[in-house]
């Protein structure tokens, strides 16, 4: 699946997008997997309350299922308008 990062999450992780093979079934499990990878992931995902997540371009929460999802995106709270 594609994992996308935006704004300071993208900057902290150092890339906008990557392809990840995972057996995680929820966003929270995917986050655990990413955190264990490298310090930059651990830093980006240190405080989940400062993060938002979208699965297949729909805003959702960290309990959401990612089974069959094509893309998961992580980003800070939005500041448009």
């Amino acid at each position: 699946m594609d994992v996308l990062y935006f704004a300071w999450v993208r900057e902290r992780i150092g890339q906008p997008k990557e392809r990840i093979e995972t057996t995680a079934t929820t966003v929270a499990e995917l986050v655990q997997e990413l955190r264990a990878r490298e310090d930059r992931y651990a830093a980006a995902f240190a405080d989940l309350s400062a993060l938002r997540v979208a699965v297949d371009q729909d805003l959702t929460d960290f309990d959401a299922s990612i089974t069959g999802a094509r893309e998961v995106a992580f980003f800070p709270p939005m500041t448009g308008g």
């Binding site: 935006f6 371009q57 995106a73 939005m78 448009g80």
Partner: protein, 146 residues
């Protein structure tokens, strides 16, 4: 209903004048425009990042919710991304309704949801520094009234 996401500037005056123009059944038109603000006077550029694909989906969903909830003749949402300078117009919404209450409420609803639910992020460049604009608690709180 029209939703536009683009990098280029938009012509606010022409969009406002053209919106619902010639409609004889709509008595009230409301527009909101967001402008790059530079209170301290040091801002060189505001850069807006977005999530292509999701942005359009999110804005269309918000606009459709407004159409379902109020009696509207038309809705317009334009939002830019990329770099822009102080005083430039970032975005606009417009609503047309028979009476002003619907037009005002729908425009405020669009703005409240757009602020906290559409995937845009602002980064301010001032001098050599760049910083992400933090979301305001009161923007999230604003959603509770709907």
């Amino acid at each position: 209903m029209r939703v536009v996401v683009q990098q280029e500037p938009f012509d606010y005056g022409a969009e406002a004048a053209g919106f619902a123009d010639g409609r004889h059944d709509m008595g009230a038109v409301v527009t909101f425009t967001g402008v790059v603000r530079d209170v301290a006077g040091g801002l060189s550029t505001m850069e807006i990042e977005h999530y292509p694909g999701m942005t359009e989906r999110a804005l269309e969903k918000i606009a459709q919710e407004a159409v379902d909830r109020w009696s509207l003749g038309d809705v317009l949402v334009i939002h830019r991304f990329g770099p822009m300078g102080p005083g430039e117009k970032i975005m606009m919404v417009a609503t047309a309704a028979r009476h002003r209450k619907d037009a005002f409420e729908a425009a405020e609803y669009l703005m409240d949801y757009l602020k906290s639910r559409a995937p845009f992020w602002k980064k301010e460049h001032a001098g050599g520094d760049a910083s992400w604009v933090a979301a305001r608690d009161e923007d999230e709180d604003a959603l509770t009234r709907w």
